[in-house]
């Protein structure tokens, strides 16, 4: 039984088809990596799932609820948390207040919300920054803040958009550890990520998008070998005639790091 089921989603912006007939499912407890070159439609799909965009066709099911047509706040209250590719902390509020606001969904009392928020800040190792304004944080810290904020709404499914994008190399292991701990807590994750080494190591399954369509869906070890994926990232010059990449994942890794 899938926790999240995406069924034939099509989303157009004018003449541009951002998502075309996308279908895949996410099982409870799974970490699914969503990959694809820029403009593949990954963030658009997140926006469709969470109610920021209304698709022209298709349906999203979460735990027997139909999501299409619901507002973002309603989707969140059903149990889906998300972060944004372009980070959106509440700039003029403190780190603690950012997370408190989210925790207030379940704890109307500010004191109780504060206690809960501190737990999430400790989880993402940001408790020492609780009194700083969100606008004063570094990118890596903001990513962790957004993660804590999304978690404070107590979701069962987390959609993380570009976990390591714009973060310096030393911080990446910290973020990866966090994701590992999220899984231990029983959360289901869909992660958009450009850093191939990262996404291959954390995902149970990879879904690859290209020009708005699913071009690969399977375990990381199988997906990297697929010809269409390599074409999408590097062009067909890198695909050796037999259909096998020259060295498994080598070209992909280079492409990923170039972006990150």
């Amino acid at each position: 039984m899938a926790l999240l089921e995406i069924q034939g989603i099509t989303k157009r912006f004018g003449g541009l088809v951002a998502n075309h007939d996308i279908s895949f499912a996410v099982r409870p407890g799974e970490i699914v990596g969503l990959i694809g070159p820029n403009g593949a439609g990954k963030s658009t799909l997140f926006d469709v799932i969470t109610g920021y965009h209304r698709p022209e066709a298709g349906e999203v099911r979460f735990d027997d609820h139909r999501l299409v047509g619901r507002r973002p706040d309603q989707v969140n209250r059903l149990g889906i948390g998300r972060t944004f590719q372009k980070l959106r902390p509440f700039h003029a509020m403190t780190v603690l207040e950012n997370v408190m606001v989210a925790a207030m969904q379940h704890q109307a009392d500010p004191w109780a919300a504060r206690r809960e928020a501190l737990r999430y800040l400790e989880f993402v190792e940001l408790a020492d920054k609780r009194d700083s304004f969100a606008r004063d944080l570094s990118t890596g810290q903001r990513k962790r803040l957004e993660l804590a904020r999304a978690m404070a709404t107590r979701p069962r499914l987390l959609l993380l958009d570009e976990v390591t994008g714009g973060v310096d190399q030393r911080t990446i292991p910290t973020l990866l550890q966090l994701i590992g701990r999220l899984r231990e807590q029983g959360l289901t994750l869909v992660v958009i990520e450009h850093n191939m080494r990262v996404i291959m190591s954390i995902s149970d399954r990879i879904v690859a998008l290209h020009l708005g369509e699913v071009i690969a869906d399977g375990p990381p070890s199988e997906v990297v070998k697929q010809r269409r994926l390599i074409e999408a990232y590097l062009g067909d010059a890198f695909v050796v005639p037999s259909g096998e990449p020259r060295a498994s994942g080598e070209g992909l890794r280079g492409a990923g790091e170039g972006r990150a």
Binding site: T50, G51, Y52, R71, P72, D73, Q74, N76, R77, G81, R82, F84, R88, P89, F90, H91, A92, M93, T94, L96, E97, M100, V101, A102, M104, Q105, A108, P110, W111, A113, R114, D128, K129, R130, D131, S132, F133, D136, L137, S138, R149, A150, A152, T153
Partner: protein
Amino acid sequence: MATVDEPRAESREPRRGEASSHIPMATGGVAAPPPARTGWGPILLATLLVAALAFPWVFRLPYHRDLVIRVFLYAMLAQAWNILAGYCGQISLGHAVFFGTGAYTSAVLQTTWGWNPWLGLLAGVPVAVAISQVIGYPCFRLRGHYFAIATIAIGEIVQTLAINWEFIGGARGLTLPFQKDSLPAFQFHTSKYPYYYVALVLLVLCLLVSWRIERTRLGYYFRAIREDPEAAQSVGIPVTRYKLIAMAISAAFVSAGGSFYAQYVLYLDPDSVLPLSLSILICLLAVVGGVGTLWGPLVGAALLIPLSEFTRIQFGGTGRAVDLLIYGGLLTSVAVFQPAGLVGLLRR
């Protein structure tokens, strides 16, 4: 990079051992009244309140009393505006609509059906709240400047409607009947002190409500919506509903202020209770004092209302508008040198 010793950041949290307060922290960003953390707050507040209560008995000139009554009234209006615009970030330039609603509702109920003015004041509140929701629902789809522009347009439409609506007196306006002094009749001619205290009560009420909002979920949600409506949605906040709540609270107080004004002046017409200039003045007082703060609107009103009076008396009356030049110059100085509002000066 943030540093923990940033001066404003200190106020985020109660000091250790300061458990007496049930408030988790001075609400952050621009919403933290500095006195709350120093311990001077209660003393300062008590002094202010005693001064306000004693004022009419010390300064006995009707002129001074009238001036302070207007400071109270405009401070209340600006604070009510601040709940919607300062905390929740929805800049309205049409708040005269609610002022006019309050003024006209109580006045029409009194002149046409003989209602008691106090009941009229109470009746104006739900009418203004209803109107605020009808305006808010479509307009809250607009962001930023577009929302402000829409509220200007609605303000102009409502004023034009009032001018052409004979039932409420049209362009001639309404004159309220002169009655014998009494509290139930809301008229005090031999001694104007009661007007003073009614205005003070309205202001204190509005400040108390704002203070309470800052410290509850409502205030946190308002600020999250101001900062980023889409991010607010992502943590489960129904943004439009909370904007409408802010609008309702704001409209309720402004309407009460309008009813008070009608009873105080005993005459109203579309030019005095529904002009765009009133909407702008309300906004201006809050902006000069400090948007999104508890004390900003009061500080703004306490400075600007007497200042405009002063420049008018000192330099006005000659037809050269020197008073307006000076007034405008001072406003510009605040905007240039203290864009966070005068309350920002205290934070340093």
